[in-house]
Subunit: 203 residues, 2 copies
């Protein structure tokens, strides 16, 4: 079997629990988190190469021009992106890389790196989503309704994803994602060396 | 999630252990074996509708003409095939159907029923395959070499399959196949109803 790791993108509406699921996956040595590049200033305690790769705008634009980002976007006059090399180095080491990213970024990654596995995480029902957002008690009713509306828009793009995982319970969602990783490693497309294995021998 | 079962085709060279793996899967209630139709005469103890659906040649030709077989072939003047309706009835009940079938038949099924999941089972090495065939002690050295040659030919068609499973140990191969089934049930293509679920509610 191919020993290379799998690049897994996890998206999902606010309240789907994707942050928690990603943290659970990262407790497992086989997973590595992708580190983003950004032009924003480091906050106190943030370490270059650990929390972010901090770049000047010129450096960042260079990365874009030289096609060295898996995806990038600009928010509030700051650039954010995913350096390709950091990801491919981890994959070559045999680790799976997890990227928690919104839908547009996920589709950019899939275009540049079609072997990426796109997982869309959803809560079991829309009512449950509303309940989770309400229980956070950090947002106004108006913000919650906007987020739910946005979830409805995001779900329209689900056809572009590979898998949908229902996050009813974190441990089950994690187990489901691990099964997807195992199955993907058995995908024929990732095992083209199998033919050689059978031929290289005494046939 | 879609409750329909998955049609899983298992192929692999003689000596790959596919018969044993299929029997292990069938111990699990979620799996049903497909029952073949044939024009050959029943052997003592064989029950129509359990071991085979026994058909006359005219009946069988009718099934072919009416596109009611997932695949069929003719060996030694007898017809063998897989009735579509028996399979789709089980799938609708939510059971997964397993079909152990050679490569040409598997490709016929995939053409008629693209949702089928094609799994190619292989031994870990060619040496192991030779050892298994030799240990059977039922075939001559010449027959064994022919089977190995045939395995080399079959592996050439592996690109047409979805997954490759290495059968080093039966229990692990079974576990791998169960993971594939779970992952396939989360495949976006099998979950088109998810969008409706999110819309049907109070959005």
């Amino acid at each position: 079997m191919d020993k290379a790791g799998i690049l897994m993108i996890i998206s999902g509406p606010s309240g789907s629990g994707k942050g928690t699921v990603v943290n659970e996956l990262l407790k497992d040595e086989q997973f590595a988190l992708s580190i983003s590049a950004t032009t924003r200033n480091p906050r106190p305690g943030e370490i270059d190469g650990k929390h972010y790769f901090f770049k000047t705008k010129d450096e960042f634009k260079n990365l874009i021009e030289e096609n060295m980002l898996l995806e990038w976007a600009c928010f509030c006059d700051n650039y954010y992106g995913t350096p390709l090399k950091y990801v491919t180095d981890r994959l070559e080491e045999g680790r799976n890389v997890v990227l928690e990213i919104e839908v547009q970024g996920a589709l950019q990654v899939k275009e540049k790196y079609p072997e990426a596995v796109l997982v869309f995480l959803i809560p079991p029902t829309l009512d449950e989503l509303r309940k989770r957002l309400t229980n956070r008690a950090t947002e106004t009713a108006e913000v919650i309704e906007k987020r739910i509306e946005r979830a409805g828009e995001e779900i329209e793009l689900i056809d572009r994803y590979d898998y949908v995982v229902i996050n009813e319970r974190i441990d089950e969602a994690k187990r489901d994602i691990l099964k997807i990783v195992c199955a993907e490693k058995m995908n024929v497309k990732r095992n083209e060396n199998i033919k050689k294995l059978f031929k290289g021998e005494s046939l």
